[in-house]
């Protein structure tokens, strides 16, 4: 567990067509390099789980790799809509996709329940909302003490979770800091966990005891990809490339422009290019 291998090998050994996969990172630490590797390997028929599908899933959906998306906010954060995902939903281009839509609270609770080994999550949610009418995965349970009706949803249990983190130590323990999002939960909920990191350090000596660390025996593979979150960011390493998010709005608006962009920046690239992309950030 926690073995350090190249990203292409980590993806090939852990993700298969037809898998349910989560790429997590809440604005911060989004594993873009891993997403690009999946696209290069053409792994398809994926069920994609992610709170905010974001550019990373817009690209996979646009490349026709997704059959289903489980999500709670399909936007380009702070910019607007996800145009490739819209095209798939509205026009079935390049293929039709099934969507399972939740609220953020539901998605966060579903990961938490997955990490906790429970079959479902219980929370106070969806009151008066229409999502329960269109998502059969939203049910309810009655509190046996108060009689209150609470929302119930299935736990997320992805086959694989991909995350990006600041660093690993030589044992393979992984440190996540800053906006930690749902990554710990998404990792612990999954059968296999692949982590890209900015660097590997000898040990974590001097680290505060209460930080978010995934022990090496909870991690399946680690790949060093400097800049691997770009255009998302890595707290302590480089800033968010806000301009790239704005640019994506234009690239994704046009099918041909999208195809060309993916060819130039993903299909004919390697994980090493990410180090170049964060220069100056």
């Amino acid at each position: 567990m926690g073995k350090v291998i190249p990203l292409d090998q980590a993806v090939r050994e852990n993700l298969k067509s037809g898998d349910t996969v989560a790429f997590e990172g809440f604005t911060h630490l989004i594993p873009h390099a891993a997403g690009h590797e999946v696209i290069r390997q053409g792994i398809s028929d994926l069920t994609l789980v992610r709170m905010t599908p974001d550019i990373i899933y817009d690209q996979m959906i646009g490349m026709g790799l997704a059959k289903k998306v489980i999500f709670s906010y399909a936007g380009n954060p702070g910019v607007g809509l996800l145009r490739r995902m819209r095209d798939a939903i509205e026009n079935g281009y390049p293929r039709t996709i099934e969507t399972i839509e939740h609220s953020h609270a539901a998605m966060a609770n579903a990961y938490e329940a997955g990490a906790a080994g429970l079959p479902c999550a219980i929370f106070r949610g969806y009151k008066g909302a229409d999502l329960p009418k269109v998502n059969p995965d939203i049910k309810s349970v009655i509190c046996p003490f108060t009689g209150e009706e609470l929302a119930a949803i299935p736990a997320h249990r992805p086959d694989v979770t991909f995350i990006h983190a600041q660093k690993a130590n030589e044992k393979g323990d992984v440190l996540i800091e800053g906006i930690v999002g749902v990554q710990k939960e998404a990792a612990l909920a999954a059968k296999r966990v692949v982590v890209t990191v900015e660097e590997i350090v000898p040990d974590f000596k001097g680290l505060h005891p209460n930080l978010t660390v995934l022990p090496h025996w909870t991690v399946t593979a680690i790949s060093v990809v400097k800049g691997g979150a770009h255009p998302s960011y890595t707290h302590g390493y480089y800033a968010r490339d806000n301009a790239a998010y704005l640019e994506w709005d234009k690239v994704s608006a046009d099918r041909d422009l999208f195809d060309q962009w993916m060819k130039d920046n993903v299909l004919s690239a390697t994980p090493e290019v990410f180090a170049e992309r964060i220069k100056g950030l």
Binding site: F71, P77, S103, L131, V180, L281
Partner: protein, 259 residues
């Protein structure tokens, strides 16, 4: 100060509704600007919470996303997202939730999910994100919106988040214990729900705005309060604070690699 845009008026009017005692769940866009103007003017001790887990943030520029690095760097504490939704939002610790809307009806019900049928949408919008539970778990809800007949409609296509439903005691009937939408601030006016029917009613027109302008940009027949007021124009401090904030933000966001 008389030289200001309707959007600036909207943002400043929203900022005035906030106090140092408030704990706000902040969305991106106009709400974020309003909350930070309040913090930088009359409400220095306001607590701002973004759903990325950052509690008590004081960003120097407005975040482009809900999870920009500066939110974490200036926060009192940054917690995991499941904790944010469980302990802080569901736990009933937020006094004010700010929501925007693609569509809204007169009872403050909001749609940000789809235009048209859910399964065959004309436009697929981003969806609810945190909104369904923000709407039910925060003490009260403030909504900001630019008026337009396509967004202020008689009947919304999808209940992304519940406001006052069909009005009256509909929230109570669903077992919701929070107040729901208590304030709607547009680029033209300030609206508050009628105490009984819960229909949003115009209580204050921004300077230079007429009743006709409000009605023309609203898809339902607008009710006006008997003692209709005029919203005080932005003060120099308010406007300077907002513009400085926007200017700092613009510079910061253009700073990415691809720019």
């Amino acid at each position: 100060m008389t030289d200001f845009t309707p959007t600036e008026m909207m943002t400043i009017a929203a900022s005035r509704a906030l106090t140092s005692k408030d704990v706000c769940f902040v969305g991106i866009g106009a709400p974020s600007a309003a909350c930070n103007v309040a913090r930088l003017t009359h409400a220095p001790d306001i607590t701002l919470i973004y759903e990325s887990g950052t509690i008590g943030t004081a960003p120097d520029v407005l975040p482009l996303s809900i999870g920009d690095g500066e939110l974490c760097e200036t926060a009192v504490s940054t917690v995991a997202v499941p904790e944010m939704f469980r302990y802080w939002l569901q736990g009933g610790r937020i006094s004010i939730g700010f929501l925007g809307a693609a569509q809204i009806d007169k009872f403050g019900n909001i749609n940000t999910t789809v235009i048209g049928d859910y399964h065959k949408p004309k436009v697929r919008l981003p969806g609810g994100g945190g909104a369904p539970e923000i709407a039910s778990s925060c003490g009260e809800i403030y909504i900001t919106l630019k008026q337009a007949t396509r967004s202020m409609v008689e009947k919304i296509d999808f209940f992304t988040s519940f406001g006052h439903g069909e009005g009256g005691d509909h929230r109570e009937r669903l077992g919701i214990t929070t107040k729901g939408p208590t304030l709607l601030i547009t680029d033209l006016a300030i609206w508050k729900p009628d105490p009984v029917t819960k229909e949003f009613t115009v209580v204050s027109l921004h300077a230079g705005v007429t009743r006709e302008m409000v009605q023309e940009t609203c898809g339902w027949t607008v009710k006006f309060a008997d003692d209709l007021e005029e919203t005080p124009v932005p003060t120099t401090e308010e406007l300077t604070t907002l513009r400085d904030l926007n200017e700092r933000t613009k510079i910061a966001h253009a700073g990415g690699k691809a720019a």
